[in-house]
């Protein structure tokens, strides 16, 4: 399926009141019939994806900060409230692999702990406009992708989460050296609220592109979309 079809309409929610006046009678809520404003915004968002991919420099590192700059207490964020956080059983948890990878064997927590680790103190910028600074540690995604024999010429790396969240990133950003599969947060294993047992930490993208509590990783050339992306957030959302 084409990326345009995959990417769901921005729908009525995206309509400016000004443009809405011109477009009464359109079925904003029907995915198959995006109205004129939806088509326009989607076309511009796709264009902005291409511009951001061109602007992305794989050698540009996200700024790092001293430990004194770490935001305390850390800020919880999800598409649900904190009391609805699902708790994953680490002992039985596995990261499933799919798509264009040579070795599809699922990875356990012990497997990931035995891999090379990297720690970073970086800034997480939310699409809402706030930012926090935190320390994350884990396995560089580039190392992991090569280790599983992923086709690094593929376009997308996709992620599925224990809470139903999902997202995807471009391969160039996936291979950026600060992009990690994080196991630790603030020097300790991730807590459920912050993505136990494994989350993506990618400081070159906005916060919602950092999915938590991963259960599956895929490598694909078929646009995978994302929870917020399918509702109208810009897909690339580079920082």
């Amino acid at each position: 399926m084409s990326r345009e079809l995959e990417r769901r309409a921005l729908l009525g929610r995206a309509l400016a009141f000004g443009a809405a006046g011109l477009l009464t009678g359109c079925d904003y809520d029907n995915l198959q019939h995006p109205d004129l404003a939806d088509r326009f915004l989607r076309a511009m968002s796709s264009w902005n994806d291409r511009v951001q991919a061109a602007l992305f420099n794989p050698h540009t590192l996200a700024p790092t900060f001293p430990a004194s700059a770490i935001t305390r207490p850390p800020r919880f964020n999800a598409y649900y409230d904190r009391d609805q956080v699902r708790v994953v059983d680490g002992a039985s948890w596995k990261l499933e692999l799919s798509g264009l990878v040579a070795e599809r064997r699922a990875w356990t927590l012990a497997d990931l702990r035995a891999a090379p680790q990297q720690s970073q103190i970086t800034r997480l910028v939310c699409v809402e406009g706030w930012r926090v600074i935190g320390q994350w540690g884990g396995v560089p995604l580039g190392w992991f992708l090569r280790r599983i024999g992923a086709d690094t010429r593929a376009r997308y790396v996709s992620f599925r989460c224990a809470d139903g969240y999902y997202s995807s990133i471009d391969m160039a950003s996936a291979l950026q050296p600060q992009t990690i599969l994080a196991l630790d947060f603030l020097g300790k294993p991730l807590t459920p609220a912050f993505g136990f047992p494994l989350r993506l930490r990618i400081p070159t993208k906005l916060g919602f592109k950092n999915p938590k509590s991963l259960v599956a990783l895929g490598v694909t050339n078929v646009y995978p979309g994302g929870y917020w992306e399918d509702q109208g957030y810009n897909w690339f959302s580079g920082s």
Binding site: A16, G129, R131, Y233
Partner: protein, 200 residues
């Protein structure tokens, strides 16, 4: 006879108006997601209905603003518009015209900008450039880290972007109030008008 406002200027003026209104309205909706100050903008005067819609409108309208704005700067330079109409006024000229304007004794001359007008137009062009640059710093604090650093980091860039917006909104308030006071200036910005020298 020359028109008061040549057609490229009129076209760019109204395209700019469309871009600016869309950017400010969607920007207010984005602001509401994480307010910098203890107030939010009323939903009814924002554009986009939710954060995703507002970001989509904002990042679409910016292309119109930038392409139109660059066209304006090139056209203004090449056509001699800036040289003829927007020569930077000295502080004394601004002060004299401001006092006259506040006493309602500053005549409007079609096709000629007084010192206060020129100062305000130059200021709002500068604010537009500042808004675009600080917006880029908010949009790409990693890839354009040097721009972000120039404004003092991501958070400071947000404040600069906000105050640039506030300055532009302040300009718009004065701009629209003056059109309301002297409504005959509106039609020439639509149809061009005829430059017949000073009109009292």
């Amino acid at each position: 006879m020359r028109p008061i406002h040549p057609w490229p200027l009129r076209l760019m003026h109204w395209l700019n108006a469309l871009a600016i209104v869309t950017l400010i309205g969607s920007g207010w909706q984005i602001y509401n997601a994480a307010p910098l100050f203890p107030f939010s903008f009323p939903e009814a005067i924002t554009i986009g209905q939710w954060l995703g819609g507002a970001v989509a409108w904002h990042l679409a309208a910016i292309w119109l603003l930038v392409l139109n704005g660059v066209s304006y700067l090139i056209w203004g330079t090449v056509s001699g518009h800036f040289r003829r109409k927007l020569a930077p006024p000295g502080p004394r000229a601004i002060w004299a015209d401001l006092l006259a304007a506040l006493r309602f004794r500053l005549p409007h001359e079609h096709g000629r900008y007084n010192a206060v007008q020129r100062a305000l137009y130059l200021a709002v062009i500068a604010l537009g450039v500042l808004a675009v640059l600080s917006g880029l710093a908010v949009w790409k604090p990693v890839q354009l880290w040097w721009l972000s650093d120039l404004f003092g980091g991501f958070r400071a860039s947000r404040y600069v972007h906000f105050f640039a917006m506030a300055g532009i909104v302040g300009f718009l308030a004065v701009h629209l109030a003056l059109v309301a006071l002297v409504p005959r200036v509106l039609w020439p910005m639509i149809a061009g008008g005829r430059d017949q020298g000073a009109v009292r």
